[in-house]
Point group: C2
Chain length 272, copies 2
DNA sequence: CTTCATTTGTCCGTATGTATG
DNA sequence: TCATACATACGGACAAATGAA
């Protein structure tokens, strides 16, 4: 029966180049490209359960035969499936179904993690203290470190570049194996993780970010000069992880709650 | 002269399949694929300013000649440039440089906007009141509406599906033109925007989300039974916009600050 | 408005390299 | 070791969109 499908499709394909008679504009079917037809068919099979999640999609050769198209066309269709997060391909192994619904419908994207904050471009970080410390248990949990392990802690204040209005009281923790970079941090203007990546030949693969609200700590009260009894801060903790999931560097940013808002824009992707 | 380059390179290329003599393991360069070499070269030209933003990249034919590779290889390289946001291609026109730095390096992605909250899957929304209201000026600013315009306001409490522990006190605003869906909201289990999309043939193209901390409003105090003097809430406001940027629906979610953390995971794209 | 050359899009065929199991 | 399956790379051909003559 697969054979029949193949023959049908190839006959249709063969009929395609034939010019329209001349009269009759003909309803003019949109003429979907072959690779898109194959893509849509495969996608339907995946979401329909014929190729369950975890199973293998037929090989390129089999799909060529079934749809009666060239390998190039099949690969074009499979490429779409990969791009949209339906399948994963591995040389020598095959094509495995990853998801029945495809990848993400919404994404928030940014060129630099600093862009998470719209203000980030126009701020400066003034370091007030830089000490190698053994992190206590709560801090270790916060930044994903081993309790008692050594981290270089950069205490400082992030403020607007123009008038120096303080935006956050922050502590940056850098793993001790990057301690030799300590002299470079004070003159660093971009994000710290970028400096570490560049100098230490490591890659930040993922970041975890948590946002909480809590009563303003005393240290922050001094920074912001705020003695209001019920004052709170918005605390943003960011952890920068390598490909193995261990923390390279982390930062704890306390923003005065009454004049700080965290904003993000999330867009729908693709044409689905 | 391009001819000479082509001949030289093709001769090198032709020499490649030749098996290594036998002795001498040879340093074994990583053997970067040709299409990747072309891609990297073109990318360097773009970021280096040789192909400025807005200008046209040489045609496929010209690139084939210059690099002495087949059109297939050039197209593979150009595909990367497109995928990574450097260029845009139009049939019949050519390949234009879009950006000197490429697209985004980091993305947070999700299938449903509810996934912004890790808990979202296991929560229920209990509607306590549903009224058509004319929004006042502060609320209008918050949800991106015209002051005084009419919105269907769904007041309610989101709680865990298991034990009903309240997670947030929320108000959902639905534009009056979707008011005819009011009878469907109480039985809606997924996100409201999805219901509206499905029934009203509209598409959410973008969402704006803002997070602030503020002293707990009286209404929320009653919901959470919290009379602590300095109690705060984490307020998450989400606006769901159509392709023209106008708000279809919005929600204001107040979470008790002492037992709520907003978490997001952001991954690096691609292999750059 | 039509014609025409240009440029990318689609599609086919073949061959070899390389990772997998 | 060996067959399998995907990755890379070459070649050719025609269609469709574009923009200028």
């Amino acid at each position: 029966m697969a054979e029949d499908e193949a023959q049908d499709l190839s006959r249709i394909a063969a009929a395609r180049p034939a010019p329209s008679p001349d009269i009759s504009p003909a309803p003019r079917m949109p003429e979907i490209p072959r690779y898109l037809q194959v893509f849509q068919d495969l996608r339907a099979r995946i979401s329909g359960g014929r190729y369950p999640v975890g199973s293998m999609v037929p090989t390129e050769a089999e799909l060529c035969a079934e749809f009666a198209v060239s390998r190039h066309t099949v690969r074009e269709a499979l490429r779409r499936l990969v791009d949209q997060g339906y399948v994963e391909r591995r040389q020598g192994s095959g094509t495995q179904v990853l998801s029945a619904e495809g990848g993400s419908l919404f994404t928030q994207s940014m060129r630099s993690l600093s862009e998470l904050f719209q203000y980030a471009l126009d701020t400066d970080f003034a370091i007030t203290a830089m000490v190698m410390t053994a992190v206590d248990e709560p801090t270790a949990r916060l930044i994903g470190a081993e309790p008692g392990s050594s981290w270089l802690a950069l205490h400082g204040i992030r403020g607007t570049r123009d008038d120096g209005v303080p935006i956050s009281h922050t502590v940056v923790y850098v793993h001790e194996r990057f301690g030799w970079l300590r002299d470079d941090f004070p003159s660093c203007h971009g994000p710290f993780y970028a400096l570490i990546e560049q100098r230490a030949q490591v890659t930040v693969m993922e970041t975890l970010q948590t946002i909480t609200a809590l009563p303003m700590p005393d240290a922050s009260r001094q920074v912001f000069g705020d003695q209001t009894p019920g004052a709170h801060v918005l605390r943003v903790v960011r952890r920068y992880l390598d490909r193995r999931g261990s923390t390279l560097t982390a930062s704890i940013n306390d923003h005065p709650a009454d004049r700080f808002t965290y904003t993000m824009r999330i867009k729908r992707d693709g044409e689905r």
